[in-house]
């Protein structure tokens, strides 16, 4: 039984890896620099314990969040330290205009766009790979205590399930002090849907070999 669980875990991580790969490519194009990502880490357990997996609750972080609708409902967000967020916004704005004129509103808007592009890229990849339609909401940004941002997100999952499934992917922009994390949270029915679709896909590939 643990073999099949491990297998499912590997499958899920592989699917997330495809999404994260596209997210990092998109980010890399936006800032004209190489972006490195880690292998996705997975948390599965009681919703209230997921907070520790996500990060330190008292630290202030910049979060760009998007909801996922369609066949695999859930949420995804990207986390930066506020310093990193400003630097990233500067890199993006610099490319298209003058960063010296940047107001806090412009910074927030640039970061939302960064979130939109990178999270959108990974959702597109997932949607292509699984051959399903996934719809994303417009991005929202919060600059606040990580704990308070995360509890709101986890409560949404908690309303539907006692167990949370969370994926974390760390990334780093090469040559810049810019690091952050992508997170993917899926509702329980989305998890089984992803597994089912992945299995179908693998079976199909096998029969066609």
């Amino acid at each position: 039984m643990s073999d099949s669980l491990d297998f499912e875990k590997d499958q899920l991580i592989e699917v997330i890896n495809i999404g994260a790969g596209h997210a990092s490519t998109a980010l890399s194009q936006m800032v004209d620099k190489t972006v490195n990502i880690n292998v996705p880490e997975m948390f599965i357990g009681p919703v209230e314990k997921a907070q520790t997996f996500i990060g330190e609750s008292e630290k202030v972080k910049t979060t760009v969040l998007m909801n996922i609708f369609g066949a695999t409902p859930g949420m995804m967000f990207v986390l930066f330290s506020p310093d990193t967020a400003s630097k990233l916004a500067e890199l993006v704005v610099e490319k298209y205009g003058n960063k010296d004129d940047m107001t806090p509103e412009m910074e927030a808007s640039a970061l939302k766009e960064v979130g939109n592009v990178i999270l959108g890229a990974s959702l597109n990849a997932l949607s292509d790979f699984l051959e399903i339609s996934i719809i994303q909401s417009i991005p929202e940004i919060a600059n606040d205590l990580l704990g308070s941002v995360v509890d709101s997100v986890l409560s949404e999952i908690g309303k539907k399930s006692d167990t949370a499934l969370v994926f974390k992917v760390r990334f780093k922009v090469e040559g810049e002090d810019i690091t952050g994390q992508f997170f993917f949270l899926f509702e329980p029915e989305a998890t089984s849907k992803i597994l089912e679709l992945t299995k179908k896909k693998l079976d199909f590939q096998k029969t066609n070999e």
């Binding site: 009681p46 202030v60 909801n67 600059n143 704990g147 509890d151 709101s152 409560s155």
Partner: protein, 168 residues
């Protein structure tokens, strides 16, 4: 020196004097604080969701045995957290009639979450807290709830004062 007790999501702590019960960042979660100034016994719960998802035969169970008799209370849920908090402070030496109740949290950090419900989980948490407290005839002494800003809560059991820290 005050002993500092950190409670995470879904946890609850009770102490008598010389202690500081604190939370990490709270958003839509609700910190429920009860304090008896006479005995200096108090406690805080860090609840996450308004109430347990209804079980298939919950209504029947409620009618026959009363909702909170047969199941152990989980401080992850606002209603159960309040029952548990009151039970535990009473066991530690507080008198129910002395209890001062304070609420912090219940914010709405993202507009897009719970878009079909006004105020989202935070608001639901607050409503359930108010209902449960009314049922127990416990008046709310003060509160800092709603809005869209996260808070850190530090509850001092020497004097019952609650310090709220925001960082934006």
């Amino acid at each position: 020196m005050n002993k500092e007790i950190l409670i995470r999501m879904g946890e609850l702590a009770v102490a008598r004097g010389n202690a500081l019960i604190t939370t990490g960042g709270i958003g839509s979660c609700l910190a429920i604080i009860a304090y008896d100034p006479e005995s200096k016994v108090g406690g805080m719960a860090h609840a996450m969701l308004p109430q347990r998802n209804p079980e298939p035969n919950a209504e029947v169970l409620d009618r026959i045995v009363g909702r909170y008799d047969k199941r152990s209370l989980d401080s992850k849920y606002v209603d159960e957290a309040i029952y548990k908090l009151v039970q535990e402070v009473e066991m530690t030496g507080a008198k129910k009639e002395n209890l001062e109740i304070k609420l912090v949290g219940g914010a709405r950090m993202f507009q897009s979450l719970s878009k079909y419900k006004n105020g989202g989980v935070g608001q639901e948490n607050l409503e359930v807290a108010k209902k449960t407290l009314a049922k127990l005839k416990l008046p709310i002494r003060s509160q800092d709830v709603g809005g869209n800003i996260g808070k850190i809560v530090k509850f001092n059991l020497n004097n019952g004062l609650v310090r709220i820290i925001t960082k934006i």
